[in-house]
Amino acid sequence: MPKILVIEDDPDMVMALRIPLEANGYEVVSASSGKEGLQKVKEVEPDLIILDVMMETTTAGFQVSLQLRNPDPRSEYAAYRHIPILILTAIHTTTSLRFGPDEAYLPVDDFVDKPVDPDVLLEKVRTLIERSQKAS
């Protein structure tokens, strides 16, 4: 059963993600801050990470993704660099129409818009986990 780590500080949002994910057989673990999230990555070794951007700071999510994708081979997260990251955001639709992952700016694999459409979420989760399993 694939494990998904949800890093999100709003418990209601965690619930909104947990319901469709668990209904589709995923195991969901949650963390309510960037710091806790990084710790849980090591403990849980998830198959996919769903990450909120604004948490304890407005860019806490960015910090987490930058740490996880640090290209330095001595990084303490080097072993987790391959884990696909799905970022949860409303930012790219409200401030700009430029959408899609941008490696140079934000090292994530895909976006899910808030409010979350569970079917869209499930499709993206399935695709990313499949892709990463094929790669490894």
């Binding site: 909104a16 319901i19 469709p20 409303a90 700009s96 808030k114 979350v116």
Partner: protein, 377 residues
């Protein structure tokens, strides 16, 4: 210019005009109760650090603030002088007045006694009046800047605080509505559907209000520059084509043959056409068509967004761009709308020097024509 610089020039100017030994500007606080040193000229730096004094403690300033210039021949023999630096005997004190309202006083000092006369007052008054006007204008500008900054801050907070609960509620409702939390009865599905539409409406309203506020707030506006019209509409098509196809609409985009550049921000120009094209998609029944064409007309760039939709009644046309206005036949549809989309469009179009026109026939369709000045590079 900063207030401090203005005051420093005022003190310096006063001293030079009267060829005096020193000068000082005292400013009234907001309650008109205390005076603080605003600037000095020809005086040691220590005189800067004077504590604010109450107006009633300095009869010299009090009289001057009432509008009366005061000449003192020998400060040692005049009890009205308070806080005068050591060694000066002649004092000339004039009010800094703007539109009959005192903002402070201007003091000029000389070491010799009986140094100032009426002709010095006549020389100093124009400078004092100019200084007072500059102080008032600078304070007003500072207040305005602070207000703009707090408005921008408010919008940033509102974006997060207002949107978050709505998007969370929507996400929860959608999960339940789609059956992921267990099977629903028909009645439950219908009721949750109603909740969901209300939340969609609220989200759109918040987004539109924020867009409207952002457009009018310079801090949030990105830098303006030339924008490629075809590219902007291409992005809009990418965003809206799936929705149109889902609805069974035929959407056609005719880009201009040449590259047309207009002035604005990418986000702003995109937003104009997202709103116009999504309206066209929203108010055109299944099987209809939406056509967007870009062309050069009379040395200007013109974009036409036309649809074969429900049309706009004639009596609604004059109100179309008003905030929160929705045409009666638009309201009657099940579609979510805030009545702010076209207000935003008009606001942005005019911001970039363009204009917008609309032609419509009920039951046949609507054409919006946006014209922008061309940017030549």
């Amino acid at each position: 210019m900063e207030l401090e610089q203005i005051l420093a020039r005022l003190a310096e100017g006063a001293r030079q005009v009267l060829q005096a030994d020193a000068a000082m500007v005292r400013l009234l606080d907001e309650e008109d109760a205390r005076l603080t040193v605003g600037a000095v000229s020809g005086l040691p730096a220590a005189s800067w650090r004077q504590e604010p004094i109450a107006v009633e403690d300095s009869s010299l300033d009090e009289e001057a603030l009432a509008g009366q210039p005061i000449i003192i021949a020998d400060a040692g023999a005049d009890c009205r002088v308070v806080g005068l630096p050591e060694g000066y005997r002649s004092v000339l004190c004039v009010p800094l007045m703007h539109e009959n309202h005192p903002v402070g006083t201007l003091h000029v000092y000389a070491t010799a006694p009986a140094r100032f006369g009426e002709e010095d007052v006549a020389l100093l008054m124009p400078l004092a009046n100019l200084g007072a006007a500059a102080v008032v204008a600078t304070r007003a500008l500072t207040a305005l800047e602070a207000m703009e900054a707090s408005k921008a801050q408010f919008i940033r907070v509102a974006t997060h605080e207002l949107r978050s609960p709505v998007t969370v509620a929507q996400s929860l409702v959608r999960s339940v509505l789609k059956g992921y939390a267990g099977e629903l009865t028909e009645k439950q599905t219908e009721l949750l559907g109603r909740i969901s539409r209300r939340l969609d409406f609220l989200e759109n309203l918040i987004n539109d209000l924020l867009a409207l506020a952002a457009g009018k707030t310079p801090e949030l506006a990105r830098e303006e520059g030339p924008v490629v019209l075809n590219a902007s509409i291409g992005r809009v098509m990418l965003l809206l084509q799936p929705r149109a196809e889902e609805k069974g609409l035929d959407v056609t985009f005719h880009p201009s043959h040449e590259r047309l550049l207009v002035w604005g921000t990418e986000d702003g120009i995109d937003r104009i056409f997202v709103n116009l094209v999504s309206n066209a998609v929203k108010y055109t029944p299944s099987g209809g068509s939406v056509t967007i064409s870009v062309r050069r007309v009379d040395g200007q760039a013109q974009v036409e967004v036309s649809d074969t939709g429900i049309g706009i009644p004639e009596e609604a046309l004059p109100h179309l761009f008003e905030e929160f206005y929705r045409a009666p036949n638009a309201k009657a549809m099940e579609e979510v709308g805030t009545g702010l989309g076209l207000t935003i469009v008009k606001d942005l179009v005019e911001r970039y020097g363009g204009c917008i026109e609309v032609e419509s026939t009920v039951g046949q369709g609507t054409t919006f024509t946006v014209t922008f000045p061309l940017v030549d590079l």
